[in-house]
């Protein structure tokens, strides 16, 4: 061999090994409360699940599914789907992944208080052979794949026998992990630090990701989190508050990545508490008096999309024509027609630390309502207290933000619009106390409608009725805002659910 060839070979080995070792320090606003992926359905838990575990399939940035531990799937009957598993995948414990693990995981999910709402629709999961399984639902289920993105197979041999899910106590699963994920948990200090190293046996060898070591710190305070990035103490943060966005953009060496999310912010007008809200004209007037575009522009600095309906544009129920309207003259006219020209007084509540600038948005809304003589007495509360009040429906107007777990309009309708039913949990967040039986019927119908054409009509029909009746006040869909050092290529791995796929993250050296 010629000396130059040897030198080149050595250099390339040197360089390639170099690109393989990168440490990522990231600071997000929350951490998972437990290592048990089934204990709480929260953003923190799902972010963790994407690190230590792998889903059967996952969402891509363009809204389509990407096969992960399931290589492909096919519907064999209207209510049964067959999943084919990737072979040669091992858990962190060394046990191989088989369909028994997946079936075990799905059954466990059915027992989790938080995931049960979604997995109740799945009747059974059956092992066909080591790498094939059938998932059946009681009725035809159009969202089976959406739901299967929540299946992160757990190591059956590792957990079995000590796998109870407890909400307020220590369990084996809340302290120990064995998944198939790209990262192995090394150290954890609850509430202040998690350390991961890359899984050397990770199945996805084609992944370009080169993060070798991952240090995760939850930082709740917006200013502290941003300072940590600007001072170079961390490489990647979420979220960036709107007031800091401009500053972040101006800083050399720092990039800001934003993306519209599917979380809708809305106002409920309680029709049981207030006689006035029973009148469609009043509800319409309120909708017309609120200037969504101005709120987005001034308070959220453009980092949101004004909403005239509940479904964001990537959901099936979205209707492009339903735009937010702002017309004060028409609003005053409607108030006059309804006999409330002199206006009235209402109570209003909003959280002050749950959604981006929630308190300021609520204040802006009260100012806008004043223009049609509705005097809203606003009370804002920290989220811990707020949701207690929300459950009690203790104000006439209440703010709510909602992200659909299934990435489907029907999830919004089920929780926010359907007639309240304490037993099934339907309408649990319907603080409007709006109840339209025909809509509730349509919601049930849409849950088992497999024909995409008919399903589209059902969901859009609901959206249209809500718009015509001004049942609620849609405000806007929030943006997600991440910031990182320039060399950390986060734009390729973030998504509108905010589960960054760190396993695929590239850090330039």
């Amino acid at each position: 061999m010629k000396p130059t060839v040897i030198i080149v070979a050595c250099l390339s080995i040197l360089l390639s090994s170099h690109t393989l070792s990168a440490t990522l320090k990231m600071a997000f606003d929350a951490d998972p409360i437990s290592l048990d992926p089934h204990e709480q359905l929260s953003e923190g838990t799902l972010q963790f699940s994407h690190l230590a575990f792998d889903p059967l399939l996952r969402w891509q940035q363009n809204g389509t599914f990407e096969p992960r531990l399931a290589t492909h799937w096919q519907a064999i009957t209207p209510s049964t789907t067959r999943f084919f598993l990737r072979q040669g995948v091992t858990f962190h414990s060394g046990n191989p992944l088989t369909s028994a693990d997946v079936v075990y995981t799905i059954n466990r999910l059915k027992h989790s208080t938080d995931f049960r709402a979604m997995f109740d629709t799945i009747q059974s999961a059956k092992v066909i052979d080591d790498y094939t399984l059938d998932v059946s639902s009681a009725k035809p289920n159009p969202l089976i794949l959406n739901i299967m993105t929540y299946v992160f197979p757990m190591d059956k041999d590792f957990y079995q026998g000590q796998d109870e899910i407890v909400k307020y106590g220590e369990t084996f699963a809340s302290r120990h992990v064995s998944g198939t994920g790209p990262f192995i948990l090394e150290k954890r200090e609850l509430g202040s630090r998690m350390e991961f190293r890359r899984n050397p046996n990770y199945w996805d060898t084609s992944s370009p990701g080169n993060v070798d070591k991952l240090i995760f710190t939850p930082i709740r305070n917006d200013a502290t989190r941003l300072a940590a990035l600007l001072s170079g103490d961390v490489d990647f943060i979420f979220p960036v508050s709107p007031i800091d966005i401009q500053r972040t953009q101006k800083t050399a060496g720092i990039q800001l990545v934003t993306m519209p999310s599917t979380r809708i912010l809305l106002l409920h007008m309680n029709q049981t508490r207030r006689q006035e809200f029973k009148d469609t004209r009043v509800r319409k007037a309120i909708n017309l008096a609120i200037n969504q575009a101005l709120i987005v522009d001034k308070i959220l600095r453009g980092y949101a999309t004004p909403a005239g309906q509940l479904s964001p544009n990537r959901f099936l129920g979205h209707i492009a024509d339903l735009q937010p309207e702002y017309d004060l003259t028409k609003a005053r006219q409607l108030m006059k027609e309804a006999g409330y020209e002199q206006g009235f007084r209402v109570s209003m509540m909003a959280p002050n630390n749950r959604y981006t600038n929630d308190e300021k948005v609520a204040q802006a809304v009260t100012a806008m309502l004043a223009k049609i003589n509705i005097k809203a007495d606003l009370k804002t509360l920290p989220k811990a207290q707020y949701f207690k009040e929300f459950d009690d429906r203790s104000a006439d107007i209440m703010m709510l933000g909602w992200q659909s777990d299934t990435m489907d309009s029907n999830n919004l309708f089920e929780f926010i619009i359907a007639c309240t039913d304490a037993k099934t949990g339907l309408g649990a967040y319907n603080a409007s106390e709006y109840c339209n039986p025909s809509i509730t019927d349509d919601i049930h119908q849409a849950n088992q409608e497999l024909n995409p054409e008919r399903r589209l009509r059902l969901l859009q029909g609901i959206e249209k009725t809500l718009y015509q009746e001004s049942a609620i006040v849609p405000l806007y869909w929030q943006f997600l805002t991440w910031a990182a050092k320039d060399k950390v290529k986060i734009q390729d791995i973030v998504n509108d659910r905010n589960y960054p796929y760190i396993g695929d993250l590239i850090i330039e050296q």
Binding site: D114, S231, D233
Partner: protein
């Protein structure tokens, strides 16, 4: 002495009972702990069931009686979030707060004493006037402004010190996790302790100045001058010693401010100590942890006040402890 300590012990008991009652009474206003444990889509029925299992639906007296019974056996409840006994959780965070407070107090003593003395001895001097001016301004600036300013200047602009966290720590005596003996730990300690010290120093500078200038006017100092004693001996031995008496008392009272300030400092610097733990517990409605924290801090106050009184007695033996402070 023994009577004094015994009385203090009884006093401590009363304080803790009062604190536990108050912290229990406000729990209901803090929010629903169950909400923090479940996702948004969990049905109201399941949540109600969880509340029942946790005993949150019982009346105030039932809950308090249960708590008091357990507390008497040394069990102060289990944190909902950490899933460990609350006392263990707090004790684990104690070293971080203690080291932060210790460094801040050290800095306060090192800065405030000379400055206070200079301004008392030579009030008309330009430097003295400058010190007084700066301390007046310092008194009126809230600590979080100081802390954010420190982060901006030293961490973001000049990159001299880390902006958050505690850095590398080593374990001493098998239990005490310390950041005082690593370079990384010390660099992390720099900004928070400095912020805390800057917030507390102005009070002490002004206090030392006013106390000392009063002492310097007194008869025995004039007598000492006429006796021909050297200036340093008069200033640092005779005058300073008597100045320190009221300073110790007020310093003890300032311990409360220190606790409040550590909560703010720890929140801003993400310092993993007790104050940060408390703020987190409040936002998570971790009620057992909140109660336990308040009781631990209450206990610390009693201990601190007792210590101050004891030191007072050491510095000035004419103070009779048994009749003092009760």
């Amino acid at each position: 002495m023994l009577v004094f300590l015994l009385r203090r012990l009884i006093q401590a008991g009363f304080v803790l009972v009062a604190i536990s009652l108050i912290s229990f009474a406000i729990q209901d206003k803090l929010g629903d702990p169950v909400r923090q444990m479940v996702g948004m889509t969990t049905t109201p029925e399941v949540r109600e069931q969880l509340r029942e299992e946790l005993g949150l639906n019982d009346g105030f007296l039932t809950q308090y009686a249960r708590f008091a019974r357990n507390a008497l056996t040394g069990d102060f409840g289990t944190s909902y979030y950490y899933k460990e006994p609350t006392i263990d959780v707090i004790l684990k965070k104690l070293p971080a707060t203690f080291e932060l407070a210790f460094c801040a107090i050290l800095l306060v003593i090192l800065i405030a004493t000379p400055f206070g003395i200079i301004t008392a001895i030579n009030p008309k001097h330009l430097i003295s006037r400058l010190i007084i001016l700066v301390s007046s301004i310092g008194l009126s600036i809230p600590i979080f402004i100081i802390a954010i300013f420190m982060v901006y200047v030293f961490s973001i602009q000049w990159n001299l010190a880390p902006s958050f966290g505690r850095g590398e720590t080593i374990v001493l005596f098998g239990a005490w996790e310390s950041g005082l003996f690593t370079k990384d730990g010390l660099s992390h300690l720099l900004l928070p302790s400095l912020s805390l010290a800057i917030a507390l120093t102005p009070i002490f500078v002004r206090l030392i100045r006013s106390e000392m200038s009063e002492v310097l006017q007194s008869e025995y100092i004039r007598f000492a001058w006429s006796k021909g004693l050297s200036a340093p001996r008069i200033y640092f031995f005779h005058a300073l010693k008597n100045t320190m008496l009221p300073i110790i008392t007020i310093g003890g009272i300032q311990a409360g401010t220190l606790v409040a300030y550590t909560i703010l400092t720890e929140t801003i610097f993400q310092w993993p100590g007790m104050g940060f733990l408390f703020m987190d517990a409040v936002s998570r409605v971790d009620t057992p942890l909140i109660s336990a924290y308040l009781m631990v801090v209450g206990g610390m106050f009693v201990v601190m006040n007792t210590l101050v009184d004891l030191i007072y007695g050491l510095v000035n033996p004419t103070v009779r402890l048994a009749s003092h402070g009760l």
